[in-house]
Structure formats: structure tokens, C-alpha cells
Amino acid sequence: MHHLVLEEWSRKNSWIHARDPRAKLVAALALVVAIGTCPGAPALRFGGYALLLGAAAASAGLPLAGTLWRACVILPFAAVFGAMAWVAGHPERAVAVLLKSFLSAWVMVLLTGTTSPPVLLRAMESFRVPRFLLLVTHILYRYLFVISEQAQHMRFAAASRGGAGRRLRRGGWQAAAGAVGTLFARSHARAEAVHRAMLARGFRGDFVLLSPLRFGAADGLFAAWAVATATALRIL
């Protein structure tokens, strides 16, 4: 699964991994804003961003192809909007939507591939992102694996009783809808149980880390350099 790979990547050691998550968050946001607000789809500018991200992946020790492949997850969603722009007679806008979405997703893959989830959430907490949202994100992330495993068990159970296979027929859609509903209910019950287990171990809404966040001069320089580069590429 994608998030398992990202988690393994986030445990690597590199100078980017070592940066304070707040510096990386600022850098990522600056890049996403710069990419997202680029007028049109100038190849040179987007090529510059791609080079920058490729260099970041290489210096963080992440496999370039792996990061590119994971960034592709955004393409089906972006393609819908791209198709709408294309149909409306703006092919250059369609290309821009796809490129901007892909580059932004790549930035996020690099961010999550160099920062472990609890540390990233802690950084978001320090930027005053609502705690409830962070808690939901944390639990959702943590349990993607368990939920997908449950979905697979349900698929096997349905298949073993002659249920929906690859090609859904009339009753198959009903079964699939029922399965999604059951999965949602189970996920909700699981989230409650996890929260209860967290409370039982003294959780009071704050994520306390083994290694407290430390923002040093190198982190400040890194964030400033990333913001300056993103802005320069945007202006050029």
C-alpha cells in the first residue's frame, strides 16, 4: 500500500529528513502555491519545478520512479477537470491542470516521504490546524491498512458465497453498496475503539513526541531557500 511505502521512506536518514517538519511544511506550501498560481503551462517553468523536485527526491534518497508513480494518484481526479476544460475549448488549460496537479501531488509525496506522520501532524498542530481534524487524520492514516484488509475479507466472503466478482451485475451493485455501508460502520466502530484505547493511556488531545520539535538555523535557511526558489521560478 502507498502509505506503508511512504512510512518506510520517512524513516530514512538524509539532510532533508533531518529538517524540522515546520520548515518542510512551509517549503511544501510555498511550492504548491507557486505551482498552483502559475499562469498557463509554460514548459520551462514547470520543467524547473520538476528538476527541483527530482533533485529533492534524489538528495533525500527516495527512488525517483517511486515518487513519480505515487504522485500519479492525483491524475484520475485531475483528468476530470482537465477533460472539462478540454471540452470547453481550452486544451492548454487542460494540460495546465494536469501538470499543476501532478507537480503538487509530487510535492506532497516528497513531504510525506521525508516526514513521519506523527511528526507532520505535530507540525500542523503548531500551525494551529484544529486538533479534531488532526486526530481524525491520524486515525484515518493509521487504519487505512486495517480497513483495506477488512474490505478484502468482505470481498472474499462475498465471492465465496457467489457474490460480486469483477463484473458487477444487478444484485452485485447492491451487494457492493451494502459492503461499503458495512465497511463504513466498522470503520466508525474501529475509530471509537481506538480513541477509547488512546484515552485509556492518558491521551488528552495533544500529540506528545519522543523527540520534541527543534527549529534551528539550518531549518530556517532551508525554508527560506525553498520559498525563494519557488517564488523565483514563479516570477521568471
Binding site: I139, R196, A197, A200
Partner: protein, 235 residues
């Protein structure tokens, strides 16, 4: 001797109106190990969720002399460690070590102390070698021991185990029973496993319809109620 847990007249009703506890009186003394037996839906899990205030019903609960109230909850949660039935619900941090340190950090220990407590608990449960592993890569038995380490790292005075043998194979059950016998804490073990109850507890209570209907030495109570698993054959 002062009881560690003293409960009288505990009643609880779920939002849908189901009466889960219908007046439970209970005492747990230092060093005791008590098994909670009974059919599914008899109120055992609901009962243990009251012991550190995760559920709050009517009646009186005192833990280590403290009345259970919102202001005493943090102290009581430090004293009562609960091992939940499904370890996946208890292992929510990216690595085993971070998970074991979750409780101590919440108790306000500084990171170095929390790390020490977590490592000691992992050594105690035989999981020291798995410190850097992700919980979802562990076997069922390892998950159970990692979850127990997370509880022990908080150094509780009372250990509550809800169906601890679920998902465990026979060697896993034996190992867990052996481990529990080495722990000095008073224990409450919710289980359907008669052999495990006999191996880990000396006293047992039998729940039925939200009440304790029978009580006695574990082996004797199990024999008296025919609660040990006989052959599953049709008469």
C-alpha cells in the same frame, strides 16, 4: 486490607436502552488475580470499561482510594491499565517503541524517561528486538505482547485484560499466561478460555445479564458451572 477497587451498585444502560449492568458490587485486593467469566453480552467488557472511566454509569467506584470523578480520571488511568481485546486498536503509533512510549509521554514523563519506561516494558514482554518495527508487521502474539508493553510502560497498579487470548494460538496462550504470572500487578482477566483463567487467576466471578450471579475459586467455579469447553457434539 484496603481494596484496590471497590464498586457498589454499578448500573449502566446503553443509548439504545439495553441494560448492560444491573447493579454490580465488586472488590479487588492487592496481589489478587480475578477472572470474569460469562456468556457474550453479559456485561463483562462494559464492566471493565468503567474501571478507568471510559464508560460512566450509576453507582460508586473507588480506585486505590480515589473516587472516580472527572478530576481524578488522569490519576485513575495511570493506576488502571487496560489491555483491549483487539491489539490493532491499541497499536496506533508508527513503531512499537513509539507506541510503548505513548502512555508514559501522556503521563507527563520527559522523553528520556518515557523512552526508558517503554524499553523496559518491551524487554519485560520479550519485544525488545521489535522496537523499530511497524505494528502491522507483527504476528498476532507479538501484537498482543507489544500492546501489553504499552500498558506496562505506564506502570499501572491494576492490570485489566479483555479477552487476551483472542487471535492467539496455543503456544501464544501459554506464553502469555507465563508472562502474566510474572507480573506483580493485581489483575482482572475477562476471558472465555477456562484453561487460561485457571492458569492466571485464583478467583472468578460469573456474569449473567449484567449481574454477578456466582463467585468462587476459579477452578471450582468453572467446574461447578460446567464452563470449561466440552466436546462440541450434538446430543
Amino acid at each position: 486490607m484496603e481494596p484496590l477497587i471497590e464498586i457498589s451498585g454499578l448500573r449502566f444502560r446503553y443509548e439504545d436502552g439495553t441494560e448492560a449492568l444491573a447493579g454490580v458490587d465488586f472488590r479487588l485486593y492487592p496481589g489478587e488475580s480475578v477472572a470474569l467469566l460469562g456468556p457474550n453480552g453479559s456485561g463483562k467488557t462494559t464492566f471493565v470499561l468503567h474501571l478507568n472511566g471510559l464508560l460512566q454509569g450509576e453507582g460508586s467506584i473507588r480506585v486505590c482510594g480515589l473516587p472516580l470523578r472527572p478530576e481524578t480520571l488522569p490519576m485513575i488511568r495511570r493506576k488502571v491499565g487496560i489491555l483491549f481485546q483487539d491489539p490493532d486498536e491499541q497499536l496506533f503509533m508508527p513503531t512499537v517503541l513509539e507506541d510503548a512510549a505513548f502512555g508514559p509521554l501522556n503521563l507527563g514523563l520527559d522523553p528520556a524517561e518515557a523512552l526508558r519506561a517503554a524499553r523496559e516494558a518491551l524487554v519485560r514482554t520479550g519485544m525488545a528486538a521489535a522496537c523499530d518495527r511497524a505494528p502491522y508487521h507483527l504476528s498476532a502474539g507479538e501484537k498482543r505482547r507489544a500492546a501489553l508493553a504499552g500498558v506496562l510502560a505506564m506502570n499501572p497498579e491494576i492490570l485489566v485484560l479483555d479477552e487476551p487470548t483472542t487471535f492467539l494460538d496455543p503456544p501464544g496462550r501459554r506464553d502469555l499466561a507465563k508472562l502474566l504470572r510474572t507480573l506483580p500487578q493485581a489483575k482482572i482477566v475477562v476471558t472465555h478460555d477456562a484453561a487460561f483463567a485457571c492458569a492466571t487467576t485464583t478467583r472468578a466471578l460469573f456474569f449473567e445479564k449484567g449481574r454477578i450471579v456466582s463467585e468462587g475459586p476459579t477452578a471450582e467455579l468453572i467446574r461447578r458451572l460446567g464452563w470449561d469447553a466440552g466436546p462440541a457434539t450434538a446430543d
